[in-house]
Structure formats: C-alpha cells, structure tokens
C-alpha cells in the first residue's frame, strides 16, 4: 500500500490564515459568541460572473481549494472530496424563510440550488472542469474526517494520485439564534483568552474552509504523512483513553511516540471531559495543543487541527497561543489528533513528519 502525504494546505478561518507563509503570527482575539471568518479578497480568485451566485461557504470553499491547488502546483486533481456539516446554511435559511414568509410563492431557484450539500464540491469541479470522483460527506463533526478516510483509501490503493479534500461550513444568523436558545452556543460573550477555561455550557461558533491536496507522491512542499484516521459514531467518556490506546497500538505506536496531541476542546463544560480524559491521563506528559478558542466550533473545525499540525510538523514551531500545557519536546515528528462534538462523532488521526 502506498503512503499518503499532505502536499499542500489552505485555510480560511476566523484567524488570518489565508496567507500560507504565516503561521498565526498575529492573533485576533474574538469576544463574541459567534466568530466570523477573515475573508480573503475573493475577486482575486473567482471571476465576478462565477462569484455572483456563490454563497459565502462556496466562496470560502472555492478559494481555499484554489489556494491548496496553487501550493501543490497542480491544475487538476483526480478526485474532489468535501465535508460539510450544514452545507450552505445561509441559502437554506433564505429559501426556507422565503417559503414561509411568502406562502410558497415567488420563490427563486438560486438559493435552493446552493442549499444542496454538494454544491461546494460541484462548483469546484465545475471551475476545474474536473470530471473525476466527487463526494460530499455530511456527518456532523466527522464530515471532513470521512472525506479524509475516503481519500486515503483511494490513494493507498492507487486509485488516484492527487485528491483535493476539504471541509467547509458557514455561519447563518437564524441558525445561530436557534443554537443560542438551545444553549449549544454559549449564553454569554466569551473572549478567546478564557474560552477554553470558561466552565460554562455551550460553545462559541465559528466558520471556515480548510482544504488540502493529498497525494501518494510526496512533493517537496509536503507537510506530513497521514498515517491513520479512524471515526466512531459514539464513544462514552470512559471509552476514550482505551480507544486512543488501541488506535495507537493498531499503528504500532506507543504514547511516548506521540510528540504532541491536538485536542478539539471547545470550552463547553459539558463535553470537554472527553478531552480531559486524555489530557490528564495517558497524555499528561505530552505537549497538548488546542485551537478552537481561535476559530470557534463548527462541524468542520477539526481540519483546522490538521492544518496547524501540518504547520507544526513542517516548521517545528508551536505558537504559544496553541499550547494547552507547559510540556515541550525537542522535535515534532508524530502528532495525534482527537476531536468530537457534543459527545458524538469522534475521530482519531495520526500525522507524521515526512
């Protein structure tokens, strides 16, 4: 079986990440319950005629995909696989409120079309004229991980050579309101500074697009090798440590071999216990890294973890703002990532320097 490499990365997030030469050089401290993406100038990437019907999620996805392709020096890929928890939420809201407000009359197709979950994957294919395999996964916090798993499988079996994968989700006002009334979004504004220690219920919601070119041919630009990815629909808090351990074992790794662990901790007192199970036990001596205080929580926030782990493996530098404990290591070669949302859809990923 072939090895799988991350040849390029691109991130549009609530931090200034779209300039790939930087690695969180300046941090934006967010104070609100929802944090919006810092957007690049879309016109630099998408012709106005194509952009006019694109929702924010599509623009973020299309631009992040172009950035990833550019960095990999590719004009075409063999497959496009995207993940999105909610799809183009703004268009879904627009079409739905149109139905209700106008009693099902005078509705127009554009927002309906954009609301289809595979619209980003389809638009990227259209832009690239890529007639290859095109899948979209929509499984909560495992949407992106499913795409990663799929791509890895194809590359290992040499069914493809270069695959563009990405995760994208956008914030939309009404859904934000709904998530506030059910307390999935925090009741009070919380600063990035103390979000992860907030000890309150709910998360701060964010948005963004993170795209990668995966390949079974390592390029000079390569960031990391994707060693393994595994997803679970359910796990109880008491399962997490054991599951992590057997995952490492399956990959012939020990806890000591892990140079850093990237945790999807989001400051929700009800569910951060899952991460604590790892951080206080197995990995108490391992450098721990968190990121959702910078970009918020969303179904495809976890690929930001892959983005930063890739950066760490390549640059051997961990920005202080990401450090969750005081542990350090001389070199970063193997990183474990763990994520879940509200106790569901857990993922474990191992990346290795290459």
């Amino acid at each position: 079986m072939k090895k799988v490499y991350i040849n390029s990365i691109a991130s549009i997030s609530p931090q200034k990440t779209f300039d790939s030469s930087e690695f969180l050089n300046e941090i934006i401290i967010h104070e609100d319950q929802v944090v919006f993406a810092v957007e690049p100038v879309y016109k630099d990437y998408i012709p106005p005629a194509a952009a006019r019907r694109m929702a924010k999620g599509i623009k973020m996805g299309v631009v992040a995909s172009k950035m990833a392709l550019r960095e990999a020096g590719l004009e075409q890929v063999d497959a496009i696989i995207t993940g999105t928890g909610m799809g183009c939420l703004r268009d879904s809201e627009k079409f739905l409120s149109g139905i209700i407000d106008n009693n099902e009359q005078f509705l127009t197709p554009t927002s309906f079309i954009q609301s289809t979950h595979n619209t980003v994957g389809g638009q990227i294919a259209l832009e690239l004229q890529c007639k290859g395999y095109n899948f979209t996964y929509v499984h909560g916090s495992n949407s992106f991980e499913s795409a990663l798993m799929d791509a890895k499988l194809q590359l290992e079996l040499e069914e493809a050579e270069n695959i563009l994968i990405g995760g994208v989700d956008e914030l939309a006002d009404y859904t934000t309101k709904l998530n506030k009334i059910i307390h999935h979004i925090k009741d009070k504004k919380t600063s990035s500074h103390n979000l992860l220690d907030s000890k309150t219920k709910g998360a701060v919601f964010g948005e963004g697009a993170n795209f990668f070119v995966l390949s079974n041919k390592k390029q000079a630009t390569a960031y990391a090798e994707v060693v393994s990815v595994k997803i679970f629909n359910t796990l109880s808090e008491s399962d997490v440590a054991e599951t992590a351990l057997s995952f490492l074992k399956e990959n012939n790794l020990t806890v000591e071999a892990i140079d850093a662990i990237v945790l999807g901790r989001n400051g929700d007192v009800e569910f951060d216990g899952f991460y604590t199970k790892l951080s206080l036990s197995l990995f108490s001596n391992t450098p721990q890294i968190c990121y959702k205080h910078l970009i918020g929580e969303f179904n495809t926030a976890s690929p930001f973890g892959i983005w930063l782990a890739s950066k760490i493996l390549k640059t051997q530098n961990v920005p202080n703002v990401l450090k969750w404990n005081e542990k350090n290591t001389s070199s970063y070669n193997t990183i474990l990532l763990y994520n879940q949302y509200r106790g569901e859809n857990h993922s474990f990923i191992i990346l290795k320097s290459c």
Binding site: P48, A51, R52, R53, F106, L107, T108, P109, T110, I113
Partner: protein
C-alpha cells in the same frame, strides 16, 4: 417604455447579483444570454419569477422565456403587452 426598460435593467442587476454592473452598462438591444451578458438557464428561471412577481405574468414552460428574454427591448415589449400589474 423607457421607464420600464430602466426598471428592468435595475431589477436584473439586483436580482441576478451582477455586482460590477450599472444600468448604463446594459444596452436595450444587448443579448442577455449567450454573447452579451452571458446569463444562463438558472438566470432565466430567476427572470420568470420576476415576471410573475412584478408584472403578474405567469410562464409555465421555461422554453417560452427564450424569445422573451432575448434583450431588454424584447422583455419590455412582452411585459407591456401582457402585464396584469
């Protein structure tokens, strides 16, 4: 008629998100589809809703739209003849 044409241009720009355009950029006889503004079949559906909503004209077959939406001139002519509001 001139007022209607102006109104159509403004509505088209707004409805179809032709962000970088102004009404002055569209000539009355510019082809809306194909070589001119390069609108597509989804835009045609948007325009059909516009006819219904603004002028009370209902088209049931998108094919009917082709001749009507050829240019601002043809649209304005069709609307003046068939409008019910």
């Amino acid at each position: 008629m001139e007022a209607l044409k102006q109104e159509l241009k403004e509505n088209i720009i707004e409805q179809l998100n032709l962000e970088d355009m102004t009404a002055e950029d569209i000539a009355d006889d510019d082809m809306l589809f194909g070589d001119g503004l390069a609108l597509d079949s989804i835009d045609a559906l948007e325009l059909i809703v516009m006819l219904d909503k603004n002028y009370g004209i209902k088209l049931t077959d998108p094919k009917e739209g082709r001749a009507i939406f050829e240019s601002i001139n043809t649209m304005a002519a069709y609307i003046s003849e068939h409008r019910s509001k």
